[in-house]
C-alpha cells in the first residue's frame, strides 16, 4: 500500500518527519516496507534564471549566464537544449550537485568553454507529465516566472516528498487506502482527522428508463450495489494535484472522469467503475452470476468465456463488466461520453478472487476486493466521487440513483467488554483513562459503567469480532508493546515436559544411524511418477498407490511418497555429480499410505528409515553390519531371506530383513538396470557401487520389548571350532540356523573361514569353518557335555545339509 506523505497531510496535521512517522507506524502494526525519498538523493539542484544565452560558434551549445540566487548570480553554464531563452526559469544543477539516481555533476569544459553545472530537463529530474506538467517537453524544464532563483528545485516540482510503502495485515482492509492510513496516523498522534468533502449538488435531470438491480439469488456475492447517473460530461484533463497523486501511486492520468474513479479507489479504498450510459443498450443494469459460456471483452481488449462462478454486470442481456475485476470494452468512457453511470459496490472477496484468478485477470480493483471493502466505503466512495464531479466541474449529477442492498445493518458492531478483562489478556494494568483515550482516538464509541464498557466499533472496522481480545490488541498497539513485562509463566501450573518414550526411541535410532556412519538427509516429501519409473517400480507396485496433489507446483512434485528410496537415490546421484564419491546417508521420515483411492479420509503416516551407502569400499556385508547394529541396539535378532523381487535392488545381492519372522524391510545392491539408467557421466557410471535399503519403522519397532536384566552366568562358556565341507550352493545362514536348532546351549555361531581349492570346486564343494560358543545355563559344562553337543550338531548337519567334517 503506497501512501505519499503529502497526501496523508491533506487529512491530518503531521508534525513528525517521515522517518519518525515510519517508526510510529511500525510499532502500531503498520510496517513500512520501504520509505521512498522522492528526491532520490538529489542535491544542489536549484531554480536558475537564464540572464544571458549566447550561441557558441560552430556548436549546438548556448553559453548561458545563470542567476541562482544565493548560489551565485552569474554562473556560466553551457547547454545543448534548443529551447533555452533569456529570462527562462529552469532547473540548474550546480557544480558538485547530484541528480536523482546519484549522477554527480561537476564543473568541466564543454567545447573548450568552462561550464559550472548543467541545466536540466524534467526527465533528468525523474519527472513525468503527471508529476509536473511540462516535464516531458523536449529540452529544458520551463518553470513559472514566479519561482525564486536559488530555491531547492525539489520544492518547486513536488519532489520534496516521501512515499510510505506500507505492509497492511489481512485483517485491516480499511487501511488499504490513503484515508485509512491517515485515520491510523490521526489516532496515533491524537490529532483530528479531516474527512474529504463528500457534499454534492443534484440536478433535476432524470435518466429516463434507468433501472438497476441485483439478482435475488446472487446477493450473497453482491451484498450492496450503488449506482448514480452523471450527465453533461465534459471531457477534460484532471487538475494538477489529482494527477500528481495518481502518478505518485503509479497510475497514469486519463481523463477527469476516469481519474476520479481511480483517485477514489486510492483515497477511500473502494474500487469504482464508470459506464458510458449511452452504450448500455437496454438502459438497464442487472448484476448476476454469469451463464456458462457467456463471453465478455474487457477494457484491455481481452476476451473471456465465463462460468457460473463469475459475477458479471449485465445490461439485462449481455455482460458489460466483470464485477470487481474490469469493465467491458463496449461501455468504456471515451471523449464522446455525455452520460455515465457510476458504480460503487461491495462484491464478496472470494467471488472476485475466483474470477480474477480463474481468468488470470488480476487488476488493482480485484486486489482491493480480495482484501475486502466495507459497506461504509461503498457509500463514502460514491459521495466522494460525486463531490469530485462537482469540484472538477466535469459533469452534472442526476437525481437518478439506486441503492440495492442485501440488508446488512448500517452501523458498527455493538458489544460489551470490561477494563479488567482487557488487562487480564495483556497481563499488565493499563490506566483506565489511557484505555478510554485510545479507544476514543480509534473512533470506538464507548459508554462506561464502572468496569463495564459498552462499545460500538467504527463501521469500517469489520475485523472487530469478539470484543475484549480485539480491544486488548487495539489498546496495546497504541499504548506500546514495550509496556509488556515478560513473566515466566507466572500463574501456569507445573507440567512434565520432554519427549515421550516413542519420540526418545526415534531420536535414538537417528543417533545409532549416525554412529554407523550415516549422515542424516532431509528431502521433500513429494516426487513424481517418473522417479518411481527410474527405480523400476512396476505399474502395479503398491509404491504406486499414492496420494496425488490436486495443485502441485510442478509435475515433478505431484505425488506424496510412500517409499523413501527415490528421494534417497536422488541424493546419492546428486552427491556423485558433485564429486562426493563415497558416503552413507539416511532419512528417517514419514511416508503416506492412503487407506483407499481415491482418497476419502486421512491416510496412514508411517515412519520409514531409508538409507544408502555408496563408494568403492562399501559392500553388502558392511551394510548388513549396520542393519544388525541398529537391530542389536534394541535386542532384535535379524534373519534374512533372499530378496529377488525388490524393484530397484539386484536380485542376487539383496535381502529381506526379518525380525521374529516378519519382513520389516530390505536392503541390497542397486539393480544393474537402475544403475545403468542414472543420469550420471559415463565414466563415473562404470564403477558404481551403491547399496540401498528401507525399513518400515512401525514394523521394526513393534518387535521391541522391554529388556530385563539377567545375572551374568557364573559358568564359563566353551568354544569349539568346526570345519565343514558343504555343497557350494549351501547358504551360511542355513548352517548357522541348523547349528542353533541342534543344541540349546549354543549361544553364538560365527563363520571364521571360507576356503575353496580346485579339488573341492571340481566336486561342487566349499569349506566353511565356524566358531561355536556354548553357554551353559545352570551348571558348568564338562568335556563330555561339549563332545555330546558337537556330535549332535555334526550329526544333524550331515543328515539335514549333507555337511561333512573336514
Amino acid at each position: 500500500m503506497k501512501a505519499p506523505f503529502s497526501w496523508l497531510k491533506q487529512y491530518v496535521d503531521i508534525d513528525l518527519t517521515a522517518q519518525e512517522l515510519e517508526g510510529r507506524l511500525f510499532s502500531s502494526g503498520f510496517e513500512v516496507e520501504e520509505l521512498i525519498d522522492l528526491r532520490g538523493g538529489m542535491d544542489r539542484v536549484v531554480v536558475g534564471v537564464v540572464t544571458e544565452a549566447v550561441r557558441q560558434e560552430g556548436t549546438h551549445l548556448h553559453i548561458c549566464k545563470v542567476d541562482a540566487g544565493e548560489y551565485g548570480h552569474d554562473i556560466q553554464i553551457s547547454t545543448g537544449a534548443p529551447n533555452v531563452y533569456v529570462g527562462m526559469h529552469t532547473a540548474a544543477a550546480l557544480d558538485n550537485s547530484v541528480l536523482p539516481g546519484g549522477i554527480r555533476i561537476k564543473a568541466r569544459k564543454l567545447q573548450g568553454v568552462d561550464s559550472y553545472g548543467m541545466l536540466c530537463s524534467g526527465e533528468e529530474l525523474g519527472l513525468n507529465e503527471d508529476l509536473y506538467p511540462g516535464s516531458e517537453v523536449y529540452g529544458l524544464l520551463d518553470l513559472p516566472k514566479d519561482t525564486v532563483p536559488g530555491t531547492d528545485i525539489a520544492e518547486v516540482v513536488g519532489l520534496n516528498d516521501y512515499i510510505f510503502d506500507i505492509s497492511v495485515t489481512a485483517n485491516r482492509p480499511d487501511c488499504q487506502s490513503i484515508l485509512g492510513i491517515a485515520r491510523e496516523v490521526a489516532a496515533l498522534l491524537g490529532k483530528p482527522l479531516r474527512m474529504p468533502a463528500t457534499d454534492y449538488v443534484e440536478t433535476d435531470y432524470e435518466f429516463p428508463g434507468m433501472d438497476i438491480d441485483v439478482a435475488e439469488a446472487d446477493r450473497d456475492v453482491c451484498p450492496r450495489y450503488l449506482g448514480h447517473g452523471v450527465h453533461n460530461i465534459v471531457y477534460k484533463q484532471s487538475p494538477r494535484w489529482m494527477r500528481r497523486y495518481l502518478a505518485l501511486c503509479g497510475l497514469r492520468s486519463i481523463s477527469a472522469v476516469v481519474d476520479i474513479t481511480n483517485f477514489v479507489m486510492l483515497e477511500i479504498g473502494q474500487p469504482m467503475h464508470a459506464f458510458d450510459y449511452s452504450m448500455i443498450k437496454t438502459g438497464k443494469v442487472l448484476v448476476r452470476r454469469a451463464k456458462d459460456g457467456e463471453k465478455i471483452q474487457t477494457l484491455d481488449g481481452k476476451e473471456f468465456t465465463l462460468k457460473t462462478n463469475n459475477l458479471v454486470i449485465t445490461d439485462g442481456e449481455e455482460p458489460i463488466a466483470l464485477a470487481g475485476v474490469m469493465g467491458g470494452l463496449s461501455s468504456e468512457i471515451t471523449e464522446n461520453t455525455t452520460e455515465l453511470l457510476f458504480e460503487a459496490a461491495k462484491f464478496a472477496r472470494d467471488s472476485v478472487r475466483h474470477t480474477a484468478r480463474g481468468l488470470g485477470q488480476n487488476t488493482d480493483s480485484s486486489a482491493r476486493y480480495e482484501k475486502g471493502v466495507s459497506e461504509y466505503t461503498v457509500e463514502l466512495a460514491m459521495a466522494r466521487a460525486l463531490h469530485l464531479i462537482n469540484e472538477l466541474d466535469c459533469g452534472e449529477i442526476s437525481k437518478t440513483s439506486f441503492d440495492i442492498s442485501a440488508g446488512a445493518p448500517r452501523e458498527g458492531k455493538h458489544f460489551t467488554a470490561t477494563l479488567s478483562g482487557i488487562n487480564r489478556i495483556l497481563g499488565i494494568e493499563v490506566p483506565e483513562e489511557t484505555v478510554l483515550d485510545i479507544l476514543k482516538r480509534l473512533s470506538f464509541e464507548v459508554e462506561q459503567d464502572g468496569d463495564l464498557l459498552k462499545v460500538v466499533a467504527p463501521r469500517y472496522r469489520e475485523d472487530i469480532e469478539i470484543g475484549e481480545p480485539d480491544l486488548a490488541e487495539e489498546v496495546i498497539r497504541e499504548y506500546g508493546y514495550e509496556h509488556i513485562v515478560p513473566t515466566f509463566l507466572k500463574d501456569a501450573r507445573v507440567t512434565g515436559g520432554g519427549l515421550n518414550p516413542d519420540q526418545n526411541r526415534r531420536a535414538k535410532v537417528k543417533q545409532l544411524m549416525c554412529a554407523a556412519g550415516f549422515y542424516e538427509i532431509s528431502t521433500l516429501a513429494f516426487y513424481a511418477d517418473a522417479d518411481l519409473d527410474e527405480l523400476n517400480f512396476p505399474a502395479d507396485a503398491k509404491e504406486r498407490q499414492v496420494i496425488r496433489l490436486m495443485n502441485p507446483i510442478t509435475e515433478k512434485l505431484a505425488i506424496m511418497r510412500r517409499v523413501l528410496a527415490p528421494s534417497v537415490l536422488r541424493v546419492v546421484v546428486d552427491n556423485l555429480k558433485k564429486g562426493n564419491n563415497e558416503g552413507r546417508i539416511f532419512e528417517f521420515n514419514k511416508v503416506f499410505i492412503p487407506k483407499q483411492l481415491p482418497v476419502t479420509e486421512l491416510p496412514d503416516e508411517v515412519q520409514h528409515i531409508g538409507f544408502a551407502a555408496f563408494g568403492p569400499d562399501e559392500d553388502f556385508f558392511a551394510v548388513k553390519g549396520a542393519v544388525e547394529a541398529l537391530a542389536g541396539a534394541f535386542d532384535l535378532n535379524v534373519e534374512y531371506e533372499r530378496a529377488e523381487d525388490v524393484a530397484y535392488l539386484h536380485p542376487g545381492i539383496a535381502a529381506y530383513i526379518l525380525i521374529d519372522g516378519e519382513r520389516v524391510g530390505y536392503f541390497g545392491k542397486l539393480a544393474n538396470k537402475v544403475a545403468a539408467g542414472l543420469k550420471l557421466p559415463k565414466d563415473s557410471k562404470a564403477n558404481l557401487n551403491i547399496y540401498m535399503g528401507e525399513i518400515d519403522y512401525a514394523k521394526f519397532e513393534s518387535h521391541i520389548v522391554p529388556f530385563r536384566y539377567k545375572p551374568v552366568s557364573e559358568f564359563p562358556s566353551v568354544t569349539r571350532d568346526l570345519a565343514l565341507v558343504v555343497d557350494e550352493q549351501l547358504l551360511c545362514g542355513d548352517i548357522v540356523r541348523e547349528v542353533k536348532n541342534a543344541c540349546k546351549a549354543v549361544s553364538e555361531v560365527e563363520l571364521f573361514d571360507l576356503y575353496r581349492n580346485p579339488a573341492m570346486t571340481a566336486l561342487g564343494k566349499k569349506s566353511m569353518a565356524f566358531k561355536i560358543t556354548f553357554q551353559p545355563a545352570d551348571a558348568a559344562l564338562s568335556q563330555e557335555d561339549v563332545n555330546r553337543f558337537v556330535n549332535k550338531i555334526v550329526g544333524n548337519l550331515k543328515y539335514k545339509l549333507g555337511a561333512e567334517m573336514r
Partner: protein, 340 residues
Amino acid sequence: MENKIKELRQEISQAFANIHSKEELAEFWQKYYSKNGRIAGLMKELKNVPKEDRPTMGKVVNAFKSEAEQRYQEMKAKIEEIELAERDRKEAIDITMPAKKNPVGRLHPITLTRNAMINVFAGMGFEIYEGYEIEDDDHNFTRLNVAKNHPARDMQDTFYVTEDILLRTHTSPGQIRVMDAEKPPIKVLVPGRTYRSDSDATHSPMFSQMEGLVVDKHITLCDLQGALDEFCRKMFSEDVRTRLRPSYFPFTEPSVEVDVSCFECGGKGCSLCKGTGWIEILGGGIVHHNVLKNCGIDPNEYSGFAFGIGIERIAMLKYGINNMGLLFENDLRFLSQFRD
C-alpha cells in the same frame, strides 16, 4: 683371606662393567654366584681359617656374600630395564600413519536445531506432539478461525489432495488436536513439516515449523514474552532481548510478531539484521476465543498463548546459512559440518 675377598670384590666389580645382556648376566652368575662359583668357593675356604678366627672371618665372608648378592640384584634390575627399553624401541611404530577408519555420520542441521529447540521448551514443561502432515480443512483452517472466505486463506497457498484434505500449511492444526484430546493445563510443542505452494530463494514448498501452545488459567501476553525471552536466551545468547509488535493471525488475538535483538551485533545494526538491530523470528499471540471454544474450552475460564517458529529460519540464523535451498540439497560436504 681378607685379601682374597678384596681381590674377588674387585674382580666382580670389573666383571659387572662388561655385562650388557641377560646372557652375559647368566654367565657371570654361573661363574661367581652358583653352587660351584667363586663366592661359594670362598665359603668353602673358611674351614682353612684358624678356629679362633673363624667366627670373625665368617662374619666378614657373610657380609661380603650379602653385599655381592645385593649388587647382583641391582645389576639384574638394571639389565632388565635395558632389555625392556630395547624391546620398546623395537616395537615402536609411526603413530602418524593413518587411522583405521570408523566414520560417524551426523544429524541434519534441521534436526539439530529442532532438538535444541525442543530441549529449551522441554525444560519449561512442554510435551511434544507431532500431528499429521496430511490434514483436513477443518483442523487446518476452519476450527482455527479461518472461515471458508477468510482473507487468511489467500495468505496461504495450499496444496490440496481433495476439496477437503490438504497438506497442512502450518503446525497449528496440532493445537486443535491437542486441545481435543487434553484439558488444561496444556503445554505442548508441535514440531513438524509443513507445506505451501511457494518456491523461490527464500521459500521451499516444504519446510518445518514448531508450534507452541500453553492453555491454563490467567495466561497473558506477558507470559508469552517471558517464555520466548527464555527461548531466545537459550537458543542464541544470554544477553538477547525480544520485542513484540502487532501483527495478524486469524487464530490469535492479539497477534504479535516477535523480534529478537541481533545476536551478531548486539543491536547496533549489521548485515544480519539489515541494520535494524532486530531479527524477526516468529509469530504468536493470545489464543483466539473462537479457537478455544471450537475445542470445548471455556474462554472465560481459560486463556492461552500460541506461537509458531520456522525451524529452517532458526537453523539459518544459528548457523549463518544464507540460502534455504542448501538445507534440502543434502550435499555431504555441507551435512558433514554440523554438530551440537
